[in-house]
Symmetry: C2
Subunit: 250 residues, 2 copies
């Protein structure tokens, strides 16, 4: 029996945003490995399969377990919410895969998904209408100086900035620092989209500003979109015009 | 009769990556507006609907036409390939929507999709495993100086850089300039993922380097992913490790 590993993005968690390719991969799987909460999101598709839940933080363990099962002949799905390539399981899975001797590597495929950044953007309007940068504020695996340098660069170059992992109980201060950095280059009135649990039960969408953002409303299930100098917020929508010239000429 | 406008991302074009939400929006539509080639991608879902094809470049016209039809009571879908928020139709549609008097605005919804950047990343491995910046090289609506500033900033801060609209017959030189800028900060051996027509007929995936990239193989249907200083290419996959420390400690 020939095993394989598919690293599958299930999107934000809504069935309407689970792609047919991801659904098919789940249907064809014999074993599904994932963070406990993501397994619950696809519980309806797990009947008759071995489901192997893990806790947060155990990304490397999940990748190794999934590879080991594929090596034993299972057709394994390793779950990611959103897209597996964006702060998801594709990177740890491929690191573990490359660490195996070539003859021990099972076939590996990454199935893309709707990432949090586009799900959140859709609920806000069109904040990513022009160039943007994506930064995680988690300094668990990345030195804070690297994150600061990226925020500075994104601010200087007038990128819209999407912020993942903005704030948790264990990391309460990074978001405040990030705001201070961005405020050195961008007006306090710059719109900030605040989206919690996009397309999931408990979804909350708000548009704040860099100057007035209430950090205590932000948690690990929140994604932030900080506008560029061109981004406007009006009548409940956040919009970054696609063209620079179009606006200048208007 | 009450009209509405849905700006719908159909993903890269493969049926397996068309979300159920996008499919449902198309099924419920009475009129579908879009670039001719995108209408062809969903031709199987257009029976009995008014399909209104436009050419490239007519983004503003498409948005206005879609809004006008919604105002006349049609349930309109405005098509985008990939995700409508990323260089897609969400921004021009919302610009046109905000320009209407509030009482003339039809209900508007953005339906997210699998963007080209995650589709291409999945085919390459895990190149977006850490922070990244997304830049379009099209200077039709954006001054070239703005694009240069963004490329510089992304390079300095060691972002992975995703490049949309890299090269066309009318814009043959911008990619060469972008390469020269990135090469000032990044090693010639930096991996560059070159993905053409991801998940479509004629798909081509290659991994080159910043130093050896053959620009003449790149066209408007190609998306490029330029690695950070941490990105590696090995055994046919491109990988940006998720953690900085993990690698340092290894």
């Amino acid at each position: 029996m020939k095993g394989c590993l598919r690293v599958v993005g299930i999107g934000p968690g809504a069935e309407g945003l689970l792609t047919p390719l991801a659904r098919r991969a789940l249907e064809e799987a014999t074993a599904v490995v994932g963070y406990r909460a993501y397994l619950e999101m696809v519980a309806g598709l797990l009947a008759g399969k071995t489901a192997i839940p893990f806790e947060l933080g155990q990304e490397v363990e999940r990748a190794r377990k999934a590879l080991a099962l594929a090596g034993e002949g299972e057709r394994v799905v390793l779950l990611s919410s959103g897209d597996p390539g964006i702060y998801g399981m594709a990177s740890p899975a491929l690191e573990a895969w490359l660490a195996l001797a070539p003859q021990h590597r099972p076939p590996l495929e990454v199935v893309p998904g709707v990432p949090a950044l586009t799900a959140c953007a859709a609920l806000l309007g069109a904040p990513l209408g022009h160039d943007f940068a994506v930064v995680s504020l988690s300094d668990l695996l990345t030195p804070w100086e690297v994150i600061v340098r990226r925020l500075e660069a994104a601010a200087v170059a007038d990128f819209v900035v999407v912020i993942y992992n903005p704030r948790s109980r264990g990391r309460p201060w990074q978001l405040g620092e990030a705001r201070r950095i961005l405020l050195r280059y961008r007006h306090p009135d710059t719109p900030v989209g605040v989206v919690r649990r996009a397309f999931r039960p408990g979804q909350a969408v708000a548009i704040s500003t860099l100057g007035t953002l209430d950090e205590t409303t932000v948690d690990m299930e929140t994604t932030l979109v900080v506008g560029s100098s061109r981004t406007l917020a009006r009548d409940g929508v956040m919009l970054t015009p696609r063209g620079y010239r179009q606006e200048v000429e208007a």
